[in-house]
């Protein structure tokens, strides 16, 4: 059975931008069966190989709190490949690359964690810290909803 892949990404030296990595580390510590986690500062093209093998993918990223004060869960689909760079990318572009390279794309969600601060620092703000627990619950629910067999997005 393929794993569910959780990718928490962001810069852990930029305060709340580290929300994605923080959530992924919590998930890793839970040792959930059939769940694999990756903690990354940025998304790069070779991740397509991991995504193609996964049963489902959950990206976890910080989102400025002025856009949303609550954790948001968005169903993703392949997007414009123009957003694909060599240093950085976004989840939709990575899904497009995965689809083009491997002819498949697993069901994928983005869990967006509200973030108040992006200045230098390794601590999460109280707002983001509180949202981490909420993100974990949403991830647990998503994992429980994924069929045990691979499906396509």
């Amino acid at each position: 059975m393929a794993d569910i892949l959780i990718i928490g990404y962001g810069n852990e030296l930029r305060s709340d931008d580290g929300a994605g990595p923080a959530v992924a580390r919590y998930v890793e510590s839970l040792r959930l069966p059939g769940v694999r986690t990756l903690v990354l500062p940025q998304l790069t093209p070779e991740l397509a190989a991991d995504i193609a093998c996964a049963r489902a993918v959950i990206f976890v990223d910080a989102q400025p709190a002025h856009e949303a004060h609550e954790v948001q869960v968005l169903l993703l689909s392949p997007s414009s490949p123009r957003a694909l760079g060599s240093h950085t990318s976004d989840p939709g572009a990575l899904l497009a690359l995965t689809q083009a390279l491997y002819g498949r794309c697993p069901p994928t969600w983005l869990v967006a964690v509200p973030a108040a601060r992006f200045d230098l620092g390794t601590e999460l703000s109280p707002l983001t810290q509180a949202a981490v627990g909420q993100a974990l619950e949403r991830i647990r629910a998503l994992c429980a909803s994924v069929p045990t067999e691979r499906t396509e997005a």
Partner: protein, 476 residues
């Protein structure tokens, strides 16, 4: 009246930049400038930081080649401590650098450059990209992705993460390699080797089609510089500086990296944040030299591994003395991937690699030191001055992309002169694509070499002798 052409942006390089083509009074291309309009300032804001932080701090200069900065910095710090690091630590650092070169070269060849010469120079830009390559050659594209992943995995298995691993430290490395992780690397070697050989076969076939590009994409005499070891073999981590000329003649050798200022000057042009290093004995700009894969293969006597040496022989048949066409940087990159894979294979068989004696401890024993290693794009220097407590007083970084700056300017001028025949006030489309690729041959990393946040646009401008911009193309 002299005029100027500007190309902006140059895409599929690490960062963004701008190109100006200067026309003379008759409307012919007279000169070219590759402007880098990003500024980062690492040299300045590292001042006042403890030396112990510098390897992980300077690794943040780049997301593609953080390992190069990590290693050059750690080496400068080793020298400040005046320690010789344990043999296993050096072997592990070397292994990580090999992984770094593999992943960076794989990205450059398979993702950034191959779309141009595999899909056609004049294919619309919307199709001449990685997705176009996937559609045309899916197996090649998948293999390239996997090869890059392999290099990244070596870095991750050693350093705990594939980007910005804070693993090399002053005096050695933090963590050993265990047998399980060694065997994971070993298991992927056959596939990596097959991909490298597939790439080489493909490129050799392409060379027949791209004779004109070999002739006009940066084919000119210059010096070449690389690190050299006692045996004169291909070196990527340590050694002394060696310069050869276009005829392959050694003009300087055995120069300790700490003496780099005796042979390398750094010129600054007002139009760019990218410095222009030059070989001091020949002055500026005559002391133009190139670094990176092409230079390393021109400066070494041999590589020292059987498959790569066989390929080196074919490569050298393309030059008289040194191989002087920058288009052949691509070929050199593929040969280096092959060399790295063979070296990784040999390294993994060394039982010392699993040693846990990995770090030499010492205090501040020198107040000034230089560390150098071969980054994927060329020789990288970290020069530090510290106080008695090890606090950084001054830093000078000489980055590979900077050292190729003069050569990039000359490459752009050569391509422009070939594709702009007679007076013009327009940038011809074929020129745009080829000038972009001329820069891409060097796989420049602007994040590294300017020490900006965000993506910077690059423009091609055609400028008249009186400074009027006759044409301007902006590519996003």
């Amino acid at each position: 009246m002299p005029q100027r052409i500007v190309i902006d942006p140059v895409t599929r390089i690490e960062g963004h930049a701008k190109i100006s083509l200067f026309l003379d009074e008759a409307g012919n291309v007279a000169d070219a400038r590759f402007h880098v309009v990003e500024f980062r300032g690492f040299e300045k804001f590292c001042e006042g930081r403890p030396m112990w932080e510098l390897p992980s701090l300077t690794a943040r200069i780049c997301g593609i080649c953080p390992v190069s900065h990590l290693l050059a910095s750690a080496k400068a710090c080793d020298a400040i401590l005046a320690v010789r690091i344990p043999p296993a630590a050096e072997k592990l650092r070397r292994l990580m650098n090999l992984g770094q070169i593999i992943q960076s070269h794989a990205l450059s060849f398979f993702h950034l450059s191959a779309p141009d010469f595999l899909l056609g120079w004049d294919k619309p830009v919307e199709q001449r990209n990685l997705f176009g390559l996937i559609a045309a050659q899916p197996d090649l594209a998948r293999a390239g992705i996997r090869l890059r992943q392999f290099g990244q995995e070596i870095i991750e298995l050693l350093g705990g993460r594939k980007i910005h691993p804070a693993w090399a430290v002053p005096g050695g490395v933090r963590e050993p390699l265990d047998a399980e992780r060694r065997d994971r690397i070993k298991a992927r070697l056959p596939e990596a080797l097959a991909t490298a050989q597939m790439g080489l076969k493909l490129f050799r076939e392409l060379l027949q089609k791209h004779r004109r590009e070999v002739q006009v994409f940066g084919n000119f005499p210059s010096l070449f510089m690389g690190l050299s070891n006692d045996e004169g073999l291909w070196e990527h981590y340590d050694g002394t500086l060696k310069f050869v000329d276009a005829g392959g003649n050694v003009i300087a050798d055995g120069i300790e990296v700490g003496r780099y200022r005796e042979v390398i000057g750094e010129a600054v042009e007002p139009s760019s944040y990218l410095k222009s290093p030059f070989y001091k004995p020949l002055g500026y700009p005559d002391g133009i030299y190139r670094v990176g894969p092409l230079a390393r293969l021109n400066t070494c006597r041999a590589i020292g591994t059987p498959l790569a040496d066989a390929e080196l022989e074919r490569f050298r048949a393309l030059g008289r003395g040194a191989v002087t066409s920058s288009f052949l940087y691509h070929y050199a990159r593929l040969i280096e991937i092959l060399a790295c894979i063979e070296r990784v294979q040999a390294a993994l068989d060394d039982p010392d690699l699993l040693s846990d004696r990995l770090r030499a401890d010492a205090g501040i024993n020198k107040l000034e030191a230089v560390g150098a290693s071969e980054a994927p794009r060329g020789t990288l220097f970290h020069h530090y001055q510290v106080d008695e407590l090890g606090v950084l007083r001054q830093m000078n970084l000489i980055i590979a992309t900077g050292q190729n700056n003069l050569a990039m300017n000359r490459t752009v001028a050569q391509i422009a002169k070939h594709y702009i025949q007679g007076a013009t006030d327009k940038i011809p489309e074929p020129l745009l694509n080829r000038v972009e690729h001329g820069i891409r041959c060097y796989d420049p990393c602007l994040s590294c070499s300017t020490h900006a946040v965000g993506r910077m646009p690059l423009v091609i401008e055609l400028v008249a002798a009186d400074g009027r911009v006759l044409d301007r193309v902006v590519r996003d």
